[in-house]
């Protein structure tokens, strides 16, 4: 029996603790933040406001919808050791395209639902096209992803502003609002309350005040997309190849992985999730906006990094990105409820991102990745 070098001696307890901590710290931080706000918000408002309400939890879920969707695609791309800087503008372009499509379809006589479907298809198709262009240039012309997606982001931005004629795309049928804002469940808190499925109860006044929407449709769509993404990343050959490309591109090429095809698919994926986000935004605000995705790019990258995806590629998970997004949203919402200047959120998120990268680096040091130097 050959023992090809005996197993490395078991790690000292300190190292093992640090490794476990580095995997779980994001969860712990999220938990701590929630506890902090649950205590602090009532204190700061003299007992009148509270943080952990059903309504607030749904607000947070709705707020993270675009960040999670952008982050999902970004997670795949970053695991492959790439990056997609165009997602914010792709979301805007998709928002404009879907608004125009819905309006045109409805005005041409299509009923509401098919018009909305037309909007969805428009958003996804245009996003997929941008993603394919990104992927093709990155794979075939071997231009670094950073540069390509930066360039396409400007082009996409121009197209979005052109298509929307530099204004918000309005004039959508009013029924669209329902798709973007109604929910699976309706809960009326307190007396005379109850739980209703799919149809909001027709109430007014006091009962209306206590009506909360639980699991709005955009959140449901996001949960479904998250589940699919987790499945693809963990359980399919495509996901495995994504990790391989990020781990060692040379090895991927030499072992026969069709790297070019995979890269194009990856950038199409990240664009399409952005496209879905744009479509949902159009539904939510009943309008297409050419500027809506702009601030979200950096938030999506922050969420991905906080969630433990290494910027060097080869590691990360969807769940991590979801946790990262939750951290950002809980933080933002909590600060507003504490009546703290919302600008603090930027400082805190930035700090958390740096901490996340430091923790990622320390994991590398402990495991010994560092000693083998650059991998490509």
């Amino acid at each position: 029996m050959t023992d090809i070098a005996p197993a490395a001696p078991p790690r000292p307890a300190a190292e093992r603790f640090l490794l476990a901590f580095s995997r779980l710290w994001a969860w712990a931080f999220l938990g701590l933040m929630v506890v902090f706000f649950v205590i602090a918000v009532p204190l700061a408002s003299g007992g009148s406001a509270s943080f952990l309400t059903l309504r607030n939890s749904q607000n947070i879920l709705v707020a993270i919808t675009p960040i999670v969707l952008l982050g999902l695609g970004q997670t795949f791309v970053i695991i492959s050791a790439g990056i997609d800087l165009s997602v914010g503008w792709v979301m805007s372009l998709a928002s404009v395209a879907s608004a125009l499509a819905i309006r045109a379809a409805f005005n041409a006589g299509l009923p509401l639902f098919p018009s909305v479907v037309a909007g969805f298809l428009a958003a996804v198709a245009i996003a997929a096209l941008v993603g394919a262009v990104n992927g093709a240039i990155i794979a075939k012309l071997k231009v670094p992803a950073f540069i390509v997606t930066l360039g396409t982001s400007f082009i996409v931005r121009g197209i979005a502003l052109l298509m929307s004629e530099n204004t918000t795309v309005i004039g959508l049928p009013a029924g669209v609002r329902a798709y973007g804002n109604e929910a699976l469940l309706y809960v009326i808190r307190g007396e005379g309350g109850g739980i209703y499925f799919l149809q909001p109860p027709e109430v007014t006044g006091e009962l209306l005040r206590r009506l909360d929407r639980v699991l709005p449709y955009p959140v449901v769509v996001t949960i479904v997309v998250v589940a699919i993404a987790m499945f693809v990343l963990r359980k399919t050959q495509f996901g495995r190849h994504t990790y391989a490309i990020g781990g060692n591109l040379e090895a991927a090429v030499r072992t026969g992985i069709p790297v070019d095809r995979r890269l194009i698919a990856l950038y199409m994926l990240s664009a399409v999730t952005a496209g879905i986000a744009g479509f949902l935004s159009t539904l939510r605000f009943t309008a297409g906006s050419a500027v809506i995705g702009d601030p979200l790019l950096l938030s999506s990258i922050a969420a991905v990094i906080i969630g433990g995806v290494s910027l060097f590629g080869g590691a990360g998970s969807i769940m991590g990105t979801v946790i990262g997004s939750l951290i950002i949203a809980v933080l933002t919402t909590g600060l507003v409820m504490l009546n703290v200047d919302a600008f603090w959120q930027f400082i805190v998120v930035g700090t958390v991102v740096i901490v996340a990268v430091l923790i990622d680096q320390s994991r590398d040091l402990i495991i010994g990745r560092g000693r083998r130097g650059a991998r490509r």
Binding site: M1, T2, D3, I4, A5, A7, A8, K235, T236, Q237, R240, H241, Y243, A244, G246, G247, N248, E250, A251, A252, R254, T255, G256, I257, G314, A315, I367, G368, R369, R372, R375
Partner: protein, 257 residues
């Protein structure tokens, strides 16, 4: 005389004005380890790359099991059973042992009547276990990313991969570089085991002790030409060094004027 697994006759490869491989012929039979020696620039890497499909030779012939063959690329060569393990091993550090063994050739399971295909991790793990067993390799854990394995262990994974995919011919480029002495010994034992199982191995190396430890025959190249082909048992270190620096040349008469 059995048909050699690999027969290279009169191979020539030029890059611009430089003749990297100058009319080289070698044969490798089943169950033997051939060491390919030569100083830097001798042409051993280029020769190997022609055999493994990376380069297309300018002249000469390659026969596999007696049949002439030319490869469309390295993947084509691999599909014909020629596995090459380069110095960087082509392993993904962030993936575990079974994932690496099946890299690019993952086993899948079908669900929902063929609509959805997922990775068959159970089968890959079992197959890896068997392959490693056959080579008598033991790892502490098969499901940890291989980045925490030692150099020798990673070599073992690369070798196990080649063996699993039923290599007809194994080519190894400097396998014991960057390894500590005990690990070098273990890798050489593996190579010997491969040979014993009938897989021929071409071993490119600088390290003379390795040659004497495991090679059956030695081919020395110098400035693109084959200058020696000797049985390991019948040659001394001194002679090998002289071949390598060009002081000795058994085929000088055949060289172009």
């Amino acid at each position: 005389m059995t048909v050699p697994v690999l027969a290279v006759r009169g191979l020539v490869k030029r890059f611009g004005g430089l003749t990297a491989v100058d009319t080289v012929s070698i044969e490798v039979h089943a169950g033997e380890v051939v060491a390919l020696l030569g100083d830097n620039g001798a042409g051993k890497s280029t020769l190997i790359k022609c055999v493994s499909g990376v380069h297309v030779p300018d002249a000469g012939e390659i026969r596999l099991d007696g049949r002439p063959i030319s490869f469309a690329g390295p993947i084509d060569a691999r599909q014909h059973g020629i596995e090459t393990i380069y110095q960087d091993l082509a392993l993904a550090n962030n993936l575990d042992v079974p994932a690496n063994i099946f890299l690019g050739r993952e086993l899948k399971r079908r669900h929902l009547g063929g609509l959805v295909r997922t990775l068959d991790e159970r089968r890959m793990l079992a197959a890896s276990d068997t392959a490693l067993d056959a080579l008598d390799i033991r790892f502490p854990s098969l499901t940890q990313p291989i980045e925490s394995l030692s150099g020798g262990q990673r070599q073992a994974v690369a070798i196990a991969r080649a063996v699993y995919w039923e290599a007809k011919l194994m080519i190894m480029d400097e396998p014991t570089n960057n390894l500590g002495v005990p690990e070098q010994r273990k890798v050489l034992e593996l190579i010997a085991r491969l040979r014993d199982q009938g897989v021929p191995v071409i071993l490119i190396t600088h390290t003379l002790p390795d040659v004497f430890a495991v090679a059956d025959r030695i081919v020395v190249m110098h400035r693109g030409r084959k200058v020696a082909e000797r049985r390991a048992a019948e040659v001394s270190t001194n002679e090998l060094v002289q071949y390598m620096v060009g002081a000795l040349d058994d085929f000088r008469a055949e060289a172009a004027p």
